[in-house]
Symmetry: C2
Subunit: 235 residues, 2 copies
């Protein structure tokens, strides 16, 4: 009996691979909607915007789910990737900080689509607490621990001002949360074992500006030769 279960996946999928799986999943969902039954690594790679060898290596970390000469079964692969990412279960998400950004996130539909459900909104401002947004009542931050417990929240999205973020993160972690998505422009310090991912608009723009400057420099012939400190700032 040849059981080739978890052949090449005793444990440990490379981080770079994990970051691409959602991309493959999105491309596969589009294909499933268009009625495709199977797809080759080449086609899927193009749809996901990656190299096909990389795609095959990524998928090989989950197991041997393709058929040589044919490709991958679309539905089956969707299931396997979803399972690997933990999307076959339902994740309750709390958004802390219901300002400009928090509201946009709360109203965002594409959120729910795949396993994630906004289960709570929390804010410190009494003006905001009690508002009804996207079918949810905004609750007071004092209720944080109780809300997390009661709603089974396991992922927290931080959308407070930068100054409040660390303090809120500390409470959230103390309440047992180990996965945080941070929108505030600060480096959060958390204990080992807590995963933080950050989304930082300002950093993205600065990276774009860097490359944009290089491009226009190249046009106008080299950097503007102003390598000197322009004003005599006390040094």
């Amino acid at each position: 009996m040849i059981r080739r279960l978890s052949q090449a996946r005793e444990r440990g999928i490379p981080e770079a691979t994990v970051a691409r799986l959602p991309l493959y999943l999105r491309a596969l969902n589009g294909m499933a909607e268009r009625g495709l039954a199977t797809v080759s690594s080449e086609d899927l790679a193009v749809a996901a915007g990656v190299n096909s060898a990389k795609l095959r290596k990524d998928l090989s970390h989950l197991g041997s789910y393709g058929t040589r000469g044919v490709g991958y079964d679309v539905e089956y692969l969707i299931y396997q990737i979803s399972r690997e990412l933990g999307l076959t279960q339902d994740w309750a998400v709390a958004i802390v900080g219901v300002g400009n950004l928090g509201r946009a996130l709360a109203n965002y539909g594409g959120f729910v689509s795949r396993g994630f459900r906004v289960a709570a909104l929390l804010d410190a401002d009494p003006e905001v607490v009690g508002d009804r947004i996207a079918g949810l009542n905004v609750e007071h931050i004092d209720e944080l621990e109780a809300v997390i417990r009661r709603r089974g929240v396991s992922i927290v999205v931080l959308a407070t001002p930068a100054a409040a973020a660390q303090q809120v993160a500390d409470r959230v972690v103390a309440a047992g949360i180990t996965s945080i998505l941070n929108f505030a422009p600060v480096v959060l310090s958390v204990p080992e074992g807590v995963d933080i991912r950050k989304v930082d608009l300002s950093i993205e723009l600065q990276i774009l500006a860097f490359h944009e400057q290089r491009k226009t420099d190249r046009m106008t012939g080299g950097p503007a030769m102003a390598e000197e400190w322009p004003e005599a700032v006390d040094l």
Copy 2:
């Protein structure tokens, strides 16, 4: 005469370094506000949440701006990093798609702080066009090319629905833009020489879910042994 100008920086700063420079800049600004005149690589590294050797190597790509035995002059380093990133000039940004997210971005203050200025808002919905948001008139997408030219826009933020993103990107690129920040969950295809950065909430959540699942699996003792395809989907 020993001119050690652009000693170790003939051209080409590693991409990983570029992505961290904004982080250092942010930490340095905080220090400048608190009145610190100099900082060691160790202290700055802690503030930015990186290893100090990495920080020193990163900075060494810009030039030799530290003083052995002392550290780095805070103001001077702020200036050098800002210049390298292109933040000593002013960047005009256009936001295309003024829905939930576009509005939040337009109202976001931290945007302007460092060299970036929201110079135009564009939308296709006649209901939205003409609205006044954050002191700007929302203009019709038909005016895209004219607005980009007139306002000197060089970076475009895409906040349209996924279905419209590629089409808008094509027009934006045709209008001469080479830097795009994309919030729509699609893989955009653009000509070589155009830089795209994407911010994808859904991917971030999925990555968190993956790790969260691993953590709880470990608690409850290995994966739930459900390695089989649960329902007989036609394969």
